[in-house]
């Protein structure tokens, strides 16, 4: 399983094809980043996949927070909340787990 997943990833560990994504793959990628996925993670992951379908790109931090606040409420859209769930660079880590390309405009 592990070796077959790594064949689907690019050099930076992002899925090459959106359609290859599954919850199992998200679990596997999360494990590698030492993240234990909870319902709070999954709602962000699914929101990101919806974002990509609609806007055809992976969001940077600011629009991600805004989109989450609009959809899941202002508390969830705070960057602190995202930093707890996806430590480091939330926009990049969450995009990776959601099977999206790396965000272009991310600091």
């Amino acid at each position: 399983m592990a070796s077959s997943i790594s064949e689907l990833l690019d050099d930076e560990g992002y899925l090459r094809n959106l359609s290859d994504w599954s919850e199992e793959i998200a679990q596997h990628l999360a494990q590698e980043k030492q993240i234990q996925l909870t319902p709070e993670h999954w709602e962000i992951i699914y929101l990101l996949r919806k974002f990509y379908q609609h806007y055809e790109h992976s969001p940077a931090m600011r629009p991600l927070c805004k989109a989450i606040a609009l959809d899941l409420g202002p508390e969830k859209g705070k960057s602190l909340h995202l930093l707890k769930l996806f430590p480091g660079s939330p926009a990049k880590v969450a995009a990776c787990l959601a099977g999206l390309p790396k965000p272009d405009n991310c600091l």
Partner: protein
């Protein structure tokens, strides 16, 4: 941290025939990430970038309408177009994909004069 600049991004090129329209949006989103005040100004054939109902998958390109829809999430709300250009193409407001502000030539010259930085693609 320096205070944000008023950046005006200008384009007079039609979409898809060149990368100008795509570049305009990429630069706009990047400026927003750096928390600058961004305004877009479309002149001449540039107003055609905002036509609704684009379906560029058929020519293997990404849909600019999708990116344009996300501008408000990047706090880019100032989207100006040259009213004369819209009329020149026989188009109206209602045929565009997102809300815009129509400007006269005089207003355009003032907009340029009042911007800190003007970039043309």
């Amino acid at each position: 941290m320096n205070s944000p600049k008023n950046i005006l991004l200008m384009s007079r090129r039609a979409p898809y025939g060149s990368s100008a329209a795509r570049d305009l949006l990429d630069i706009a989103l990047t400026c927003s990430v750096f928390e600058q005040n961004v305004a877009l100004l479309l002149l001449d054939d540039g107003v055609l970038q905002l036509l609704a109902n684009q379906d560029p998958q058929v020519i293997q390109q990404k849909n600019l309408n999708s990116l344009q829809s996300s501008l408000s999430l990047y706090d880019i709300e100032k989207i100006y177009i040259d009213a004369d250009a819209l009329e020149h193409h026989g188009l109206s407001h209602s045929e565009l994909h997102i809300p815009v502000t129509l400007l006269t030539k005089i207003e355009i010259s003032q907009l340029i004069a009042n911007s800190d930085i003007v970039l043309t693609v």
